[in-house]
Symmetry: C2
Subunit: 156 residues, 2 copies
């Protein structure tokens, strides 16, 4: 199995072999957990941007590596499985900005998911080197792959 | 620097060298980001429990390893820095269950944080081996270290 294929399986279709964890999941919990993943990535993206681009003098290799590891680990944890039936719309206070297309456009989602996973894993790999300039570039590439999904599948 | 000391710095006192990222942070965002970290850990703990204890026949080594990596990465991302002034109490819809003591009892927090970090990193290490029985034990140890903090520093 190729790395790409393996990442994709981790992201999108982990439902089958872990049905215990999803069969009884409430749609509002699915929204809660996927938002948690995005928020963890957002905070860590902010930190990396700050330490490499906005305030490069504050660069701390260990913190940047930890932040990148968190982003990659979340990217690899199989969030695609959280787009369950019933979680298409906000439920009370549990808001979702997911567009309907993320539940139906399997090929399109697969494409952005693969690119994002690759970019997140690359960012973690580059962050481990401590090379600030290379990290800034890998950060921008990862950010572009985030935006590609937001543009297609997230409401404003 | 010992591993323990290094983990602690990562968890608790990353404010100093990353001041850009926290100086302008709104207290409600600090609550949002730390809750996101706990929620990511909760989902992945649920998955590991399901695949090793509740439904061991559904064990999937790759998914368990990815779940454990997410827990460890969140444990290492420096969430202690999110307990900023102004984030002691819920702010509107952004609820926090943190007790006041987590903001004041630095020695007690340090103790539970070190134990939790060690348990989370150990869980990731054991999960990488694919040994289901050993993973179940490491999961229980990690869960106990979660509970130790909840009992002391989280409201019911």
């Amino acid at each position: 199995m190729s790395l790409t294929r393996s990442l994709l399986l981790g992201t999108l279709v982990s439902v089958a072999s872990a049905s215990f964890a999803y069969a009884d999941m409430k749609p509002e919990d699915a929204i809660k957990f996927r938002k948690a993943g995005y928020n963890v990535m957002q905070w860590n993206m902010n930190k990396i941007k700050g330490m490499t681009i906005e305030s490069p003098d504050s660069f701390d290799a260990k913190q940047v590596a930890n932040a990148a590891n968190a982003i990659a680990a979340v990217a690899n944890m199989g969030m695609g499985a959280l787009y369950i039936a019933g979680s298409e719309e906000s439920i009370g206070d549990m808001k979702t900005r997911a567009k309907a297309e993320i539940f139906t456009d399997k090929e399109g989602v697969k494409e952005v998911a693969i690119k994002f996973n690759q970019a997140a894993n690359e960012l973690a790999k580059v962050a481990a080197t401590g090379d600030k300039v290379a990290i800034a570039q890998a950060f921008k590439d990862a950010g572009a792959s985030c935006k590609a999904c937001h543009d297609k599948y997230r409401k404003d």
